[in-house]
């Protein structure tokens, strides 16, 4: 057990190292991507450029630059922004993390509940009009881009119908901490939650429907019927229990990617100061320390989610447990 954890930790460090090198090379070593030119500004004189180059250490060899960047990011944790001089990177990322976590966590609860329920209902009524219309609805959900859904939501709740009884409770865009005001926290997040989950509800409902109907073709479901079990028991204890394995691996990856900044569009549209928006702003200004930090952060969560999925897998599927 301990060995497996250690191996996982080593894998994680290795993957993060690889990705950090690639990200570093993309922004620091690609021809024409001279960071000092960007920092010095548009009309910088050659003297200024040279000064910036020396001040930021761009005249040193690449591996030294990389080492200094990593040292300041992980060990000293005093890496500062290139754009807003003096703004420290690590506290900014740590500050943005809970916002993203709240957003993704709430959305995950919604999309798991709704996705699994829809998948089950569609399977129970498979072949009927209910099944077909639910699956069509799910397809529509998958097809709608999240930034568009978010904008439409904003248009409805913030502008067109904001003055009616229906949406007058919706606060303005932005984020309020849970500890500041739980009710306001909930109100600001509820619409982003739904917006973010639309895609995943559709996706999960369709995948579960497919996986469940596959299970229903299996011999063990016939055995369960021959045992005289009720349909609901067959569904929950036998078919769904087996299909959960598929769903779980999807969930782990999706959740990891979203926490790692994948909710960027939702965060930008709803002006939530999370990791996604931080990445977005860093990319707009090509603020390399911030880009580096958010890339590392997101890698960490994706790898972590993968590891957690593997652990949960062994728990859900006894066959995996022995394969180790």
């Amino acid at each position: 057990m301990l060995l497996a954890v250690l191996r996982r930790a080593f894998d994680m460090v290795f993957v993060m190292f690889g990705i950090s090198v690639i990200a570093f090379l993309i922004f620091f070593a690609t021809p024409g991507s001279d960071p000092s030119a960007r920092i010095a500004g548009r009309n910088a004189t050659p003297e200024m450029l040279a000064q910036v180059r020396i001040a930021f250490g761009f005249d040193r060899p690449l591996y030294v630059q990389y080492g200094r960047l990593m040292q300041r990011l992980f060990i000293a944790q005093d890496l500062t922004s290139f754009v807003n001089r003096g703004q420290k990177v690590v506290p900014a990322v740590l500050q943005a993390t809970p916002v993203t976590l709240c957003l993704v966590f709430g959305a995950a609860v919604i999309w798991l509940t709704a996705g699994i329920s829809l998948g089950i209902v569609a399977t129970v009524f498979r072949g009927t009009i209910i099944d077909k219309s639910l699956m069509l609805l799910a397809l529509a959900g998958v097809s709608m881009p999240v930034f568009w859904v978010g904008s439409v939501m904003n248009l409805i709740t913030q502008s067109r119908f904001h003055d009616t009884w229906l949406f007058s409770w919706v606060p303005g865009l932005g984020y309020t901490s849970f500890f500041e005001s739980p009710s306001l926290w909930f109100k600001t997040l509820v619409i982003p939650w739904f917006t973010l989950s639309v895609l995943f509800i559709g996706l999960y409902a369709r995948v579960l429907r497919a996986s469940l109907s596959e299970s229903y073709q299996e011999d063990y479901v016939r055995t369960a019927r021959a045992k005289g079990l009720s349909e609901s028991r067959i569904m929950v204890r036998h078919a769904l229990r087996t299909s959960l394995i598929t769903l779980l691996s999807m969930f782990g990856l999706d959740f990891g990617a979203l926490v790692g900044g994948g909710a960027i569009l939702t965060e930008v549209v709803f002006n939530l100061p999370g990791i996604g928006r931080l990445t977005y702003q860093a990319l707009q200004n090509l603020d390399l320390p911030f880009i580096m930090a958010t890339v590392m952060y997101s890698t960490f969560f994706v790898v972590l989610a993968n590891a957690l999925v593997d652990v949960a897998y062994a728990w859900l599927d006894p066959r995996v447990c022995d394969a180790r």
Binding site: G127, E218, D219, Y220, R222, T223, A224, R225, A226, K227, G228, L229, S230, R233, R237, H238, R241, T242, I245, L316, D317, P318, R319, D322
Partner: protein, 337 residues
């Protein structure tokens, strides 16, 4: 007639397809007496499994059309509500399937799956159900049943899994056990053990067993009565000894001939029945065995009824006036050996 525990009359199963309705079973009728082992034999596609699924009402295809009566202790199964049927399944009529590799849910322990059935039907508590499951596993000859309870299906060999399946099937002491090719997926040595087990069950619990198989060896080992199916019909049935010694239908004769002889010279090639059984949609008019039958004659273009020869019944015009000459020849041949 009162000792018949199961009476099937005119069971017909068809499926609506794009080419129109296709009948898989045509007018299948037979009885099962209490405590009897009835063996249903036939090639694949003859409708053996379909018969058992129809009895259990496990045909879930919405395009299936099922007619006929299936009386279990006087109650007509097709007429029961889904709820009543559910109470019967696993409790009164239990089933064992061919492939124990896929017939158990992979994510639950075998013990849990056995206990589940008893908890649902008998309302047992978790502890009692566990205790009884362990007992059953032990009775089925599974070593160290206490530990086996917590094993997952993939931990066990095919034979052990089939034993677990059987333990599950008999856990609620059913009156009828339907075994659909229970030994087909197993090694020969394990096959014999499972057959022994089934015989013990009959002795100990007095349950009737419907054994579906394509293996004449299995039939001759444990059956009391044999039904031979071909193309969705029962073409011959009778007591095992009669049927194996004096087959009345040429198809049964063909099946018998294809068993390797136990004594004497080993034939270089086993005789086989030429051709293959017709597909359900493409069965010929009249006797469906006609194209493959070496004895076919003009009468065979009509569907033969079941003729009675002593205690045996055969759907062949050759049997119209009692046993035919070739059957006597065969009997002589046997005694000569």
């Amino acid at each position: 007639m009162s000792d018949n525990i199961l009476e099937i009359r005119d069971l017909t199963v068809g499926f609506r397809t794009e080419q129109g309705p296709v009948e898989i079973l045509k007018g299948v009728s037979f009885d099962v007496k209490a405590g009897e082992i009835v063996s249903v034999v036939g090639e694949s596609g003859s409708g053996k499994s379909m018969t058992s699924l129809a009895v259990m009402r496990l045909i879930t295809d919405p395009n299936a059309m099922i007619s006929g009566t299936i009386r279990y202790k006087g109650r007509n199964l097709p007429g029961l509500s889904a709820r009543e049927m559910r109470k019967l399944r696993g409790r009164q009529i239990a089933m064992i399937f061919q492939d124990p590799m896929t017939a158990l849910t992979p994510v639950h322990t075998i013990g849990w799956q056995i206990a589940e059935q008893m908890r649902v039907h008998l309302g047992l508590g978790a502890k009692v159900a566990r205790k009884r499951s362990v007992e059953l596993l032990g009775k089925m000859g599974i070593p160290d049943p206490e530990r086996a309870y917590d094993r997952y299906p993939h931990h066990l060999s095919g034979g052990m899994r089939q034993r677990a399946m059987i333990a599950m099937a008999i856990s609620c002491d059913p009156a009828i056990l339907i075994a659909d090719e229970p030994t087909t997926a197993l090694d020969v040595t394990v096959q014999a053990q499972i057959l022994d087990l089934l015989q013990d069950l009959r002795r100990e619990y007095g349950s009737s067993i419907i054994l579906i198989t394509h293996d004449m060896g299995v039939v001759s080992t444990i059956a009391d009565r044999v039904l031979v199916m071909y193309s969705g019909r029962i073409i011959e049935h009778g007591a095992k000894s009669d049927l194996l010694d004096k087959p009345q239908h040429p198809y049964t004769l063909g099946l018998m001939r294809s068993i390797p002889p136990m004594t004497g010279e080993r034939p270089r090639r086993l005789p086989s029945i030429p051709g293959s059984p017709p597909l359900p949609g493409k069965r010929p008019e009249g006797c469906s065995f006609r194209p493959r039958c070496e004895f076919s004659f003009s009468k065979c273009s009509a569907v033969p009824p079941l003729y009675r020869c002593n205690e045996q019944f055969a759907a062949c015009f050759l049997a119209e006036h009692g046993s035919h000459q070739w059957q006597r020849n065969l009997a002589e041949e046997r005694t000569a050996k």
